[in-house]
């Protein structure tokens, strides 16, 4: 069996005094597709950064395949959309190996154009990144990561804040990259729309709660441990579906969904 691309052995990371990841064991194999799910603050982004090597563990070991190239796609919310870069400039800046001159070589231009065409951005190279749609913007950053010729692609919530159509569009691109042999690790909050369609999931809440196929880990028991709240799971066509209920939004007499009055949520000091 081939050695994993990345292997976590009892890894603990922390910011300041607070541990963010505790005793994490995780193997990422060649060509795997892994989704990391967990509540906000559960350490999902930190886990990605630890895989990428920008967060160092305070305990445990992270073994990476020698010469492993990693592509990283940040959350779109963290991008400065007013920064003056065209699509071409945004993706070519990732080419930092070898050539030292500011302008791209002919080969780099051809390669960049190929990646853009592959991701459906062919005619947009000279557009400013702010002028694109949500899905196109996400694909620009996937293209940038691809230009670094990675074997492992990390995506931090690639579908956050986008509509259903764009989510489908982005996930289609990511699945295609996976089919071409790329190992992919992404974080997501979307259990039904994304996580349940991935081959392998890691449920995280500072420590790994469970890992396995969606059928194995999307269960009421695992989700309650992961999210700290009861979540009902149904089966629909053999796929697990998490029932998202907000009892406080339902008027019991009318049976209709209503918005509660704002003062209902105020916490009064004892």
């Amino acid at each position: 069996m081939a050695a994993p691309l990345v292997d976590f052995e009892r890894v603990t990371c922390r910011y300041g005094r607070d541990p963010v990841l505790v005793n994490v064991d995780l193997e990422i194999g060649e060509g795997e597709f892994i989704g990391i799910v967990g509540p906000s603050g559960s350490g999902k982004s930190t886990l990605l950064k630890a895989i990428a090597g920008t967060v160092e563990p305070i305990a445990g070991r992270i073994n990476r395949d020698p010469g492993l190239s990693i592509g990283y796609v940040p959350q779109v919310e963290t991008v400065n959309w007013y920064f003056p870069v065209t699509v071409r400039e945004a993706i070519l800046m990732a080419r930092i190996d070898g050539r030292r001159l500011p302008w791209p070589s002919k080969q780099e231009v051809v390669e960049a154009q190929e990646v853009l065409e592959r991701l459906g951005l062919g005619g947009l190279a000279d557009r400013h990144i702010r002028e694109l749609s949500g899905g196109q913007q996400q694909r620009v950053f996937i293209a940038r990561a691809m230009l670094g010729r990675p074997r492992l692609l990390l995506l931090d919530e690639p579908t956050s804040g986008v509509d259903v159509r764009t989510r489908h569009d982005v996930m289609h691109v990511i699945h295609e990259l996976h089919h071409q042999g790329l190992a992919i690790v992404l974080t997501t909050h979307d259990l039904n729309g994304i996580a349940s369609h991935l081959p392998r999931l890691v449920c995280l809440n500072r420590e790994v709660i469970a890992t396995g196929s969606p059928r194995q880990v999307i269960t009421s028991e695992v989700l309650e441990k992961t999210y700290g709240a009861p979540l009902e799971v149904l089966s629909h066509g053999g796929m697990p579906v998490v029932l998202e209920q907000y009892p406080e939004l339902v008027d019991e007499e009318e049976g209709a969904t209503v918005l509660p009055l704002r003062e209902d949520h105020h916490e009064h000091p004892a």
Binding site: A52, I70, Y72, A90, M93, I96, L154
Partner: protein, 279 residues
């Protein structure tokens, strides 16, 4: 024609217009990174911090420019370090460190009182009085900065746009930050005798902002900023000869006028598609 060329007959004027033009280009070049990193205030702060270093260097008896440069570099690195703490923003770090440094200069002047060096020249600049050695220093820093930007173009752009991903992708962002701090400090230390510390901040900010107003491309912004800085340096000193105004002030005023034109033009350009649709 001979009237227009008259000032070029003076050696001091040739030196002045050459060094001001190079200074404008240099500030335009480094300023792009300063503005896009959201550090516009660092130019202002560091120029004041360096003033404190210049006074201290004079008292200790070392070369004012070398001492001021080293002082400024320490201040810039200290700002970088303090600003990394999430609880303290870059603006607060710049404010605290550079103001304290400037205050040291003011206090040293008030204690010493017997200076043969005119520190006013550092504050307001004395482009018409620059010595050949000053010209060489500015030229040297300009060449070094151009080489730094030329060979580190992609690393500088990547770490300015997206430092976290740049780090993942193999850019040593800490080294890039230190390199930029060195170039910025060298720029301020070398040019403070030309346009003065109070004007350097403006020249680090206005040309890049003009570039940003006129384009959405980083490459073009860099060219426009350098071109605007060059033009302002030239026009400012040339105009000040006829107008009999302060040279440093005229350089910055030229930049201010171009900023106003760029601002009006960019607003008009933005409204153009809407106007075309209306007709």
């Amino acid at each position: 024609m001979s009237t227009l060329l008259e000032p070029f007959g003076y050696e001091f004027f040739q030196r002045a217009i050459f060094v001001a033009t190079i200074t404008g280009a240099l500030c335009g070049l480094i300023g792009v990174y300063v503005v896009l990193r959201g550090m516009s205030y660092i130019g202002h702060g560091l120029s004041h911090a360096i003033f404190g270093g210049a006074v201290a260097s004079y008292i200790v008896g070392i070369n004012v420019f070398v001492g001021a440069g080293l002082w400024g570099l320490v201040a810039a690195l200290f700002i970088n370090r303090v600003a990394r703490r999430r609880s303290i923003g870059a603006d607060a770090a710049i404010g605290a460190i550079t103001s304290a440094s400037f205050a040291i200069g003011i206090i040293l002047i008030s204690i010493q009182r017997t200076f043969v060096v005119n520190f006013e020249a550092l504050l307001w600049g004395n482009v018409l009085g620059v010595a050949p050695v000053d010209v060489l220093v500015v030229l040297g820093v300009a060449i070094a900065s151009t080489l730094f930007v030329f060979f580190g173009y992609r690393q500088l752009l990547f770490s300015t746009f997206d430092p976290e991903v740049a780090e993942v992708s193999g850019v040593r962002t800490a080294r890039v930050d230190v390199g930029l701090a060195v170039m910025l400090t060298a720029t301020i230390a070398a040019t403070m005798n030309v346009i003065g510390v109070t004007m350097i901040a403006a020249m680090l900010v206005i040309p890049p902002v003009i570039g940003r107003l006129l384009t959405d491309s980083f490459g073009r912004m860099l060219w426009i900023s350098v071109g605007t800085g060059t033009l302002c340096g030239f026009l400012g000193v040339y105009g000040s000869y006829y107008l009999n105004w302060s040279s440093g002030g005229t350089v910055v005023l030229a930049a201010g006028a171009l900023f106003l034109l760029a601002f009006l033009f960019s607003g008009w350009r933005r409204r153009l598609p809407a106007l075309a649709e209306a007709h």
